[in-house]
Amino acid sequence: MDKIKRILGVVWMLLGPATLIFLVYEAWQKIKANPVHDVYLPWMIIVIICIPIAMGMVLFGYFAWLGEYSREKIE
């Protein structure tokens, strides 16, 4: 189980930036198609909020990769 946790750490490390890239791309597409206040404001809010959360996800993945969540370390 500890090995799976460590391997999945890589997935979590990738999930953070992948989500952010997806959101920035979607935001760019939607704003470009309709550059009005009601479109860019919500997208800006979403993207800005997601930056620290994506960083947190990377850090979580990194800790998982290092084995910080192995059974002996969290019990």
Partner: protein, 512 residues
């Protein structure tokens, strides 16, 4: 742990819960009145834009919650739990009352900005409140009953919503439609000042948490709770685990069950507000005892299995439940009573303009007893050379009483999932962190999970639904908004399943 008598413990729970309930009430009336607030405080125009603007304000309230968690969490770990959550109560009550006295945009152009600031203050206060209340009760409770006792605090969020709905429905019933629209909607906000006074008196009588008081007398309180919570790897990794393995999924399940369901029924299904809110209120009331049941059960079998089961059930059943909601309200599938159809047309002058407004209202009745009212508002420019703007259409469906039991049942199921993920979460979080930095450490993941991931559910789900509308499918995919809570809950479920400790951890509360 300092021995606390059962009677004193219930006094602590009662006093903490009442204050927290009032804070939730204050916070929710804004969300419950989002539609009317968007018309009163935001520049008129596109109704969807106005609605999104209010939801953005709603979300802004949630986004600042993590900052409230940091500011008041730090304060709570430095000076104590009691005075910190007294301060959050005053901030919340004062902001809510102020929203009730701000003139509408029509008379006061600064209204949108001031409303936004007041909403941010509400969010800040709530960010400080919950962690304090949960910590305070947990620090009075015996370890083997912590899930049960803290679950009383967990009921306050739902009861706060319930209270807000009761007050709103009562105002709607006592006043005429016009009076309610003109000034009656302000009453729930103004009532807050009375509730504030009551809870200040109650909280002033409370004493400091025994564990914190002991730490303080021994000079062992944290000097820098923020640094100790987030600067040390051993604690930071638990903060991240709490967020991604528990509160993130719990937050989206909670807000989908209690808030997006309401938005979906009112906006997507066009159901009549009083009927819908009454049914939601009944379902909330029926499901609320299950917070206590699952809190109690978590003391017996652990927090993790209950929270993850709630998440999994939500992931698997959301689409089916919301499809049913939509089907019940879909009048295109109902058989019309042709003889009962009635159309009324009248024209009225537009204030401060030479234009006029043509209102066409069509009442329809269906064989199952449901009715619908469609109002088409067509602006008629005084200048005949001007092109006609696109008419605005507003549909309101009143379902037959026979649908009540079905819709209440489905909302009950949604709230039951909420009770599973939310009932044990306070005990789960307080047990993860040591006493001296508990308020700060547990507040942040709780408020990011609930405030950001959860609080954004109605906003993002509405946005996704709007984007699903295309030229080939102008009605859009009514279930599109659900992808957000389903995917967040699914990631959280996997992380929780693999990384969370299955055993209850009581060590931090017994040996600080």
């Amino acid at each position: 742990m300092t021995a606390v008598s059962k009677r004193k413990l219930y006094t602590v729970i009662g006093a903490s819960s009442l204050g927290t309930l009032i804070e939730w009430y204050d916070f929710y009336i804004f969300g419950s009145l989002a539609t009317i607030l968007s018309e009163k405080f935001f520049p008129p125009g596109n109704p969807t834009a106005a609605f999104l603007a209010t939801l953005a304000t709603f979300a802004a309230g949630f986004i600042v919650r993590p900052f409230g968690a940091l500011v008041f969490g730090r304060l709570g770990d430095l000076i104590g739990r009691k005075y910190t959550f007294l301060l959050t109560l005053v901030l919340m009550g004062g902001s809510t009352f102020a929203i009730g006295i701000i003139p509408s945009y029509e008379n006061f152009a600064w209204a949108p900005g001031i409303i936004l600031i007041l909403r941010l203050l509400q969010g800040l206060a709530l960010g400080g409140e919950y962690g304090g209340a949960a910590t305070y009760v947990a620090e009075h409770s015996p370890p083997h009953r912590r899930g049960y006792y803290t679950s009383w605090i967990q009921t306050t969020a739902t009861l706060g919503l319930f209270l807000s709905l009761i007050v709103i429905i009562t105002c709607q019933q006592l006043l005429s439609k016009e009076d309610y629209y003109n000034w009656g909607w302000r009453l729930p906000f103004l009532l807050s000042i009375v509730l504030l006074a009551i809870s200040i008196v109650i909280r002033l009588k409370m004493q400091e948490s025994p564990l914190f008081a002991q730490l303080k007398s021994e000079g062992k309180t944290s000097v820098n709770p923020l640094k100790e919570s987030f600067g040390h790897r051993a604690n930071l990794k638990m903060v991240l685990l709490a967020l991604f393995g528990a509160t993130m999924g719990q937050g989206v399940v909670w807000y989908t069950g209690q808030f997006y369901a309401q938005t979906f029924l009112l906006k997507t299904c066009s159901l009549e507000p009083t009927q819908t809110n009454t049914w939601i209120g009944i379902a909330l009331l029926l499901a609320t005892p299950f917070f206590i049941v699952f809190g109690w059960l978590s003391d017996k079998i652990g927090r993790k299995p209950i929270m993850l089961a709630g998440m999994l059930l939500a992931i698997l059943s959301y689409r089916a439940i919301f499809t049913q909601f939509y089907r019940y309200a879909d009048v295109s599938q109902k058989q019309e009573v042709a003889a009962a159809t009635l159309t009324k047309t009248h024209t009225e002058a537009v204030k401060k303009s030479k234009d006029s407004l043509l209102l066409t209202t069509t009442f329809k009745q269906y064989t199952d007893g449901s009715t619908s009212e469609t109002e088409v508002r067509q602006l008629l420019p005084a200048d005949p050379g001007k092109t006609l703007p696109k008419p605005e259409t507003k549909k309101t469906i009143v379902l037959a009483d026979s649908y009540g039991i079905k819709i209440i049942g489905l909302i009950f199921l949604l709230v039951l999932f909420v009770t599973m993920v939310y009932g044990p979460i306070a005990a789960f979080l307080v047990e993860l962190f040591p006493t001296k930095i508990r308020y700060t450490s547990m507040s942040l993941p709780y408020h990011i999970g609930n405030g950001v991931f959860g609080g954004m559910v109605p906003f993002i789900a509405t946005l996704v639904y709007e984007y699903s509308k295309t030229a080939s499918n102008p009605a859009g995919d009514y279930l599109a908004g659900l992808w957000y809570p389903i995917s967040v809950a699914a990631v959280c479920f996997v992380i929780g399943l693999l990384y969370l400790n299955s055993r209850n951890n009581h060590d931090h509360l017994t040996h600080h």
